[in-house]
């Protein structure tokens, strides 16, 4: 528990989640306007934001949300239909609430006024269109027992700490009174003697007979905030009996009032009929089930990082222990060391697991994006998603948001044709974007596919030639051409729409993905659509590496880049340095001697090995002295003082506590190529 947490921050976090729920509900509602569960979900989210907003001092938020809620209540009562127009305004309102919570000083209250005006106008229109629907319940003043009233008997008690949590039962009772004719009986049976009484505990219980015209859900709404902290029993009472003899309808109250002594000895519901017990038990079980569902805690990401560091240290200390234990052979020590080794690795795996979150939260955001895109572009777009449960490192999910937004935008804006063109091509008028995430080995694949026009290789070529990105008439395979769209300064869009002009090009997308050690594949079929697939490692925190030795130093090569390992033949090793090529199954692969690259003095080992790595389609061999084996470890970034060293993407700590650098394969290759070119030109001068 974080005791220093600013309560306002807690509210911000909570409301962010609630707003997300609200958005999802609204978007779903657009698809299924009749779904009452969705309307209730949206309403509940609003109600909670209003309540806790007021509690945490976000008065403006509470005020606006209240207005919004009242308007939305009419949807709930069936007085207005959740048509697309209403959903659009509701989404705006949701954005406004979010802005008010996150950046109150930058948010103009006028926007809120406009949104509310829009809402009212919509309802006014709805009323004008369907005047018959409205009068029923809205026209009826609440509280007056009319023809269609029902009488309810309520019994409720709160958890003892309900007052400490900021709830006020008196206000709840007032709210009940507001619903209709109310008879309240209070029980003091649980109140202990003064000496044992906790001053801030709530010991009272209430029985209420309520006659109202509202549906039963109105009662639940009153207790919405405290539902988890109380036992509530509601039953409908026969109208006649309630009117005739309210006393007779409240045996619980009667018994308790009549015999306080005996009630003090028994549980307070003791006088109630047996079914009430069962009901209570049922309600309790329901509450506890709810608790299980939501038993999560919030932990700041930095704490996880800190724990990860500690676990990293533990792994190192444990490796030393194992070494010592094996050396001294001191009987039991070895067994304990093995036990600790097992525990440590389990702990590390668990730690990694904590950082993983399902990608669904990210996908959720794109539904809104597609909804807005569909409206702004005037194209009908369906979004389907799959694999929401696929887990990915939390930090990666955050970094993926912008690139995916960009790709989806491109898909909607450039990929999908408008309805007319689609009809002409014999496709359904609504475009379709499919967002899929799945695991593939140690990678996560996220693909965005659409059934649009597909990439036009000819146009890409023309554009690339025009921009000087490729030589005119250069022989490029289609796949290579498709990769050109990720180059800086490349855009085939004839006109820049408001959507494309966000300053983020596909080149930035590519850089971001590569920064996460990922890659991008493009598959396209003319007239049938394009699929862009992001390949990402499971986590940024861990690397599966091939550990090699060069002179006395150990280095890790990301295993995803490694294709194969071969021995450097005597002939290849001694051949003139100008021709560093290997023959791998008939294909020439250039190789770099890491000893030279890293300026290691001394003679190389007799039997050097070559690790063949591949970047895109370029294969290069890295000559090392020894291949030690695969090694999974936590990635540590290098400090700013080593930012000028491009050969390494980071460092990792080995079992013996030593640091091994992680090779940045793409940069190494560039470095080696530069060196080779220099060497070639100097030998040319020599000759």
């Amino acid at each position: 528990m974080n005791e220093n947490a600013d309560p306002a921050d807690v509210f911000r976090q909570e409301s962010a989640e609630l707003l997300e729920q609200l958005e999802q509900a609204l978007l779903d509602l657009e698809q299924r306007p009749g779904d009452h569960d969705l309307i209730d979900t949206a309403f509940r989210a609003l109600h909670t934001i209003k309540g806790s907003g007021a509690m945490f001092g976000f008065e403006q938020v509470a005020a606006f949300t209240h207005e919004f809620e009242s308007a939305f209540d009419r949807v709930r009562k069936g007085e207005a239909a959740p048509d697309p127009e209403l959903i659009a305004v509701a989404l705006n309102a949701k954005d406004f609430i979010r802005a008010q919570i996150e950046r109150p000083e930058e948010t103009d209250a006028v926007i809120g006024v406009c949104i509310l005006a829009d809402l009212r106008k919509l309802f006014a229109d709805a009323e004008a269109r369907a005047p018959i629907e409205t009068p029923e319940s809205a026209a009826e003043p609440p509280g007056k027992p009319a023809a269609k009233t029902t009488t309810w008997r309520l019994g409720f008690r709160f958890n003892k700490d309900v007052l400490v949590n900021g709830s006020n039962p008196l206000l709840l009772l007032d709210e009940l009174r507001g619903l209709g004719d109310c008879r309240v009986t209070v029980h003091c049976d649980r109140v202990p003697p003064l000496g044992q009484m906790e001053p801030d505990a709530c010991y009272l219980e209430w029985d209420v007979v309520l006659t109202m015209a509202h549906p039963r859900s109105a009662i639940d709404d009153v207790f919405m905030f405290v539902a988890d902290d109380m036992e509530l029993k509601v039953e409908a009472v026969d109208e006649a009996s309630a009117i005739m003899a309210p006393e007779a309808a409240t045996p619980i109250a009667q018994a308790a009032v009549a015999a306080p002594e005996s009630a003090a000895a028994n549980p307070p519901t003791g006088a109630a009929p047996a079914p009430a017990h069962a009901e209570h038990a049922g309600a309790l079980a329901e509450t506890s089930a709810k608790h299980v569902e939501t038993s999560t805690i919030r932990v700041p990401a930095e704490r996880l990082d800190e724990m990860m560091d500690r676990v990293g240290e533990l792994v190192i200390a444990q490796a030393r222990l194992t070494q010592l234990a094996s050396k001294e052979g001191a009987g039991g020590a070895k067994g304990v060391a093995e036990e600790i080794e097992r525990l440590t690795s389990a702990l590390r795996d668990a730690m990694m697991g904590i950082r993983m979150v399902p990608i669904g939260s990210l996908f959720g955001r794109f539904r809104r994006l597609v909804h807005d895109l569909s409206r702004d572009l005037g194209k009908e777009i369906d979004l389907t998603t799959a694999g929401e449960e696929t887990e990915l490192d939390k930090t990666m999910i955050e970094r993926l948001a912008d690139p995916l937004v960009h790709i989806i935008r491109n898909a909607a804006d450039h990929g999908l044709e408008d309805a007319e063109a689609r009809r002409a091509a014999g496709k359904p008028p609504a475009g379709h974007i499919n967002l899929v995430a799945r695991h593939a080995g140690a990678e996560v694949l996220i693909s965005v596919s659409e059934d649009g026009r597909g990439l036009d290789a000819r146009r890409i070529r023309a554009k690339a030639e025009e921009n000087g990105l490729i030589a005119a008439g250069a022989a490029l395979a289609d796949a290579e051409l498709h990769q050109l769209i990720f180059l800086p300064g490349f855009s085939t869009a004839k006109e820049v729409s408001a959507l494309s002009g966000r300053g983020v090009g596909l080149d930035v997308v590519k850089r971001t993905i590569e920064g996460m050690r990922g890659s991008i594949d493009v598959a396209t079929r003319p007239g049938q659509g394009t699929e862009i697939t992001l390949r990402l490692p499971l986590t940024l925190a861990i690397i599966e590496g091939l550990l090699v030795r060069v002179a006395d130093a150990r280095y890790a090569i990301p295993l995803t880049a490694v294709e194969e390992c071969v021995e450097l033949s005597e002939a290849d090793a001694t051949r003139s340095k100008g021709r560093s090529f290997l023959n791998i199954r008939g294909e020439l692969v250039p190789f770099l001697r890491l000893r030279e690259l890293f300026d290691e003095p001394g003679e190389p080992d007799a039997h050097q090995k070559v690790v063949i790595v591949a970047v895109a389609d370029t294969r290069v061999g890295l000559v090392v002295d020894q291949i030690i084996g695969s090694h999974q470890t936590v990635i540590k970034s290098l400090s700013k003082l080593h930012a000028d060293v491009p050969s390494f993407s980071g460092a990792t700590i080995l079992g013996d506590g030593a640091v091994a650098l992680i090779l940045d394969v793409p940069h190494l290759i560039a470095l080696g190529q530069a060196r080779e070119t220099r060497m070639q030109s100097s030998t040319a001068e020599f000759a």
Partner: protein, 148 residues
Amino acid sequence: MTEVEESSRQVLMLGLAGEMFALDARQVREILDPIPVTRVPGAQPYVSSVLNVRGKVIPLADLRVRFGMPPASITPDSRFIVVEIELAGEPTTVGIVADKVYEVTDLDTSTLQKAPPIGMRWRPEFIAAIAKWKDEFIIVPNMQQILN
């Protein structure tokens, strides 16, 4: 260094190639016996390696290179001093090699002088001040400049 005026300041005294240096004690996190380091090929010579300090990989700076002193190997007296300094607005943990660590002492700030612009072997921007301590001249290095 822009400090509030104080009459004395706690410093860690260390020896390097026969010279005495004083590091602001508030920057010092810990002092380690030498442990194996890993060379970073292609790095600047004054930060040529990294080491593992409690699960963190930090750079190891050699002030000798910056002060034009001859290289020396690690001896049993050598120590790695872990300091935290602000580089480009971010606190950065760096190890510094010392031939010997003497003591933490109070340095009378009235003896602090600006480094003379001439008559020195060292680049003036690397020196925050020259101080006097027990009849000896002490260099207060400007770590921000040295590691820049």
